[in-house]
Amino acid sequence: MGSISLLYGLFSRTPTVLASDIDIGVDGLLKYELFGQTLWLTTTHVSILIVLMIFTVFAIVANRAIKKTDPYKKPSAFVNVIELAVEKIDGMVAENMGTEHGMQFANYIGTLFAFLLVCNLSGLLGLRPPTADYGCTLSLALITFMLIHITGFRYQKLGHLTGLCKPLLLTPINIIGELATPLSMSLRLFGNILSGVVLMAIVYGLIPQVILWFWPGVLHAYFDVFAGCIQAYVFCLLTMIYISNNFSSDDD
């Protein structure tokens, strides 16, 4: 025990690590008042702004490249990659939602997938992933919730409402089930990304400096890249499945 603590004292920056040194929370950066409420500009907002900046730059560059491309000639490598991404997302939407009504959601699903992917991977850039904030994931899940029910009312009219009371006894359970959808979707994404953030913070806070030079790469590969990609895909897939369930009523 003594030798371990000696080694630890030699190699770590601080001899003892306090729980307050490990930074996993959302930090408030700027306080302001709006309509009598005290609000905070937090690290999440800054991360989202950086992510959006990346998207804006990418969109401008991609737009220029596409406009310059001559459709009768071979496209450049960059345009090829953009085409590949768009085709993949279109294929994913067509496979899961059907081509009849589904393709109108391709833009939304593509945007959602790209946003979630860059957000989840932004931990690699040293940002705190915006999706590790419950406010971000809940608002995304609420958009999905709205889309589910707007689609339901559009395609089934009032049948969407009466479908909730199909077995009359199960009406409360059906309503709770509908309300649980955004909750479980947002908590799934939030919990996955937050667990990565917490574990990485603990590793960076508690492990001696020498080990930190090579070891956390493996953890970043798992928690940021693997879990981030899987969760972005799962969120989009569940959105597509829930929306496309409402294209036709259940009884036909």
Binding site: I24, R188, G191, N192, L194, I230, Q231, V234, L237
Partner: protein, 84 residues
């Protein structure tokens, strides 16, 4: 016996530890899904990509219950509603 802030904090830490026992369920579920996926690939190696996607989706959904317990543990440790 006095129930002060530190008593509540200690009990919250124990509660956070107990909440993580729920990690048992998703572990078993994900392992079972992975085993079945492996068996499916063994029977039909051509469909490896599709089996992989379905398996990962199922595992990600099965992970939800574990993440609920994780959220409660984090809540108890860092944003405890019982101690103000």
């Amino acid at each position: 016996m006095e129930f002060n802030e530190f008593f509540v904090k200690g009990c919250s830490a124990i509660g956070a530890g107990l909440a993580l026992i729920a990690g048992l369920g998703p572990g078993i579920g994900q392992g079972y899904a992975a085993g079945q996926g492996t068996a499916a690939v063994g029977r039909n190696p051509g469909a490896r990509g599709k089996i992989m996607g379905t398996m990962l989706l199922g595992q990600a959904v099965a992970e939800t219950t574990g993440l609920y317990s994780f959220a409660i543990a984090i809540l108890l440790l860092f944003a405890n509603p019982l101690t103000k």
